[in-house]
Symmetry: C2
Subunit: 318 residues, 2 copies
């Protein structure tokens, strides 16, 4: 039986587990429930990970003893005590297997670099973070502070900026914008005043609802709306700054060869206005940054990372 390498992309509501062989071929995948123990509790989180590992190994036609290495990227696993907890789970199911626990950004980087931890990733989904590694293995980040402390470029921040443009147009402190009608229609509202009840509704909290407005900004900018374009410009500019700071802090801007810059997250998908603008801005400021889109999802990225780490360790042993 071939050696198996397992990647886990764990979130608050769902977990994707992917198994690959030593050549990087995918042999199976499995979706289970949330594995962020802050969201679902320890019992369910542990169970989601166990289920993913067992089911993918089964789909690969192997057994747990074939697993050579595991890489887990789990949201909300930031503190040392979180890592210790995941360690106890891994010790229960695969006591003799080396594993790594990373944050989401690390496996998103791996999804664009075929498992190599080198370069920078920018993720613009509901939130936004830039994360990178240099050749010496040093890592750093910018942003990732959440909606109240910043994180421009994030879906919710684009949403906030759109809503500000809409209420400012209503106040007549800013020009009218196409976004008003589009947003009110999407939210089934008759007037801007209803936005207040919606925004502060204690029964509908969370930042996702703001992030869900973001596609309207792109749509309106493409239709020539100045206010929408300003929202995109401001958020693209912020992302450029995050990326630049990661490059500078790691010395990546001084590399003579091109450095991978992975563009990940729902807001900067291939060929959208937002990602095109981001690429154009980056080209001016960081000419050696090579924007790439993920070649796989983060679950497979995690599995490729496990494979790469296994190869490096084997080489080091020789």
């Amino acid at each position: 039986m071939t050696k198996l390498f397992i990647g886990v992309d764990g979130g608050g509501t769902k977990t994707l587990t992917v198994v690959i062989d030593e050549q990087g071929n995918e042999l199976g995948r499995h979706h289970s429930g949330g594995s962020n123990h802050h969201s679902v509790g320890e019992e369910l989180a542990r169970e989601a990970i166990f289920e993913g590992i067992k089911e993918t190994v089964k789909k690969a036609g192997g057994s747990l003893s074939d697993v050579a290495r595991v890489c887990l990227g789990i949201s909300g696993i930031d503190r040392p005590e979180d890592q210790v907890l995941v360690g106890t789970w891994m010790n229960d199911i695969l006591p003799s297997v080396t594993y790594d626990v990373s944050n989401d950004a690390v496996i998103a980087l791996a999804s664009g670099t075929m498992g190599k931890l080198y370069g920078c990733v920018i993720i613009s989904g509901t939130g936004c973070i830039a994360y990178g590694f240099n050749r010496q293995g040093k890592s750093t980040r910018s942003a990732g502070w959440g909606p109240l402390l910043g994180d421009e470029g994030a879906g919710y921040q684009v949403g906030f900026d759109m809503l500000k443009a809409i209420v400012s147009a209503k106040d007549e402190t800013r020009p009218k914008t196409l976004m008003t009608d589009k947003v009110l229609t999407q939210l089934c509202m008759k007037s801007e005043d209803e936005l207040i009840t919606w925004a502060y509704d204690p029964k509908n909290q969370g930042w996702q609802k703001f992030a869900q407005l973001a596609p309207i900004a792109t749509e309106c900018a493409l239709a020539g709306d100045v206010a929408a374009q300003q929202v995109l410009d401001k958020n693209v500019q912020a992302m450029v700054e995050y990326i630049q700071s990661v490059f500078v802090k790691l010395g990546l801007d001084k590399e003579s060869e091109s450095v991978p810059l992975v563009l990940a997250g729902g807001n900067i998908e291939r060929e959208c206005l937002y990602s095109n603008q981001l690429k154009a801005s980056i080209a001016k400021i960081l000419p050696n940054a090579k924007p790439v889109f993920p070649s796989c999802d983060s679950g497979k990225g995690a599995a490729l990372l496990a494979l790469e780490k296994y190869k490096s360790a084997s080489t080091a042993e020789k």
Copy 2:
């Protein structure tokens, strides 16, 4: 016995009631519990208003039959059904007395104009709103949308902008700022990372905690901190725009005589950097705006408003 005029400044946690005579002299005041029924419930809100009216009339040495007019400014009383509710309370305690129910901004304006509803008020407290009346009695507002939809100039927005400057300095996307040490000290934190737990703490929600950081921005700007000055500039600029839009919408900018601009709320008190900057910016853009600070609190402003309305009605009858 002189006629009595009663003003009520009602909030979520406390209510101030003030009684004056026909010459505008204060005869008594009383503090009772919250009278925003959304916060404390109908029973307690009604009781807080009854208590305030009864106690101030007693302090004035009069009786309920001496009350000539009442003006209530109560937070959270925006919808028609809220106004109807307050009407049923007033009918219970003072069935034959004319009363007005306004929002907080109206009685804040009155606190700077000796009860006349003419001109504009800008309030920068925890939130921010601009509100005005022209000579024809037409009113309008700008801002007042709350922390997620805008309201720059508000205490919480100054706080958000400060925190963004601090985390951006940590990310090295913005220069270092004096605000970092001052804010971390005030919040008893060792590093910026602790801001995340503090900002999103489900046990310590609410926007007041962000607004409480605002005085540090002024302090740091006075010490020459560029980032702090930028925070103030941005928020002052927004307030100028709100004021300008109220002036333009009401035609106040076209008045040949000076128009009162009342500067109210804890962030723009007399002779502070923030209000001085605001006054300087307004002088350039709206030369006929005459900035004034409230000459009394909003409770007395409400009482003066009741007196002015009584006088106008009496004049109209003649």
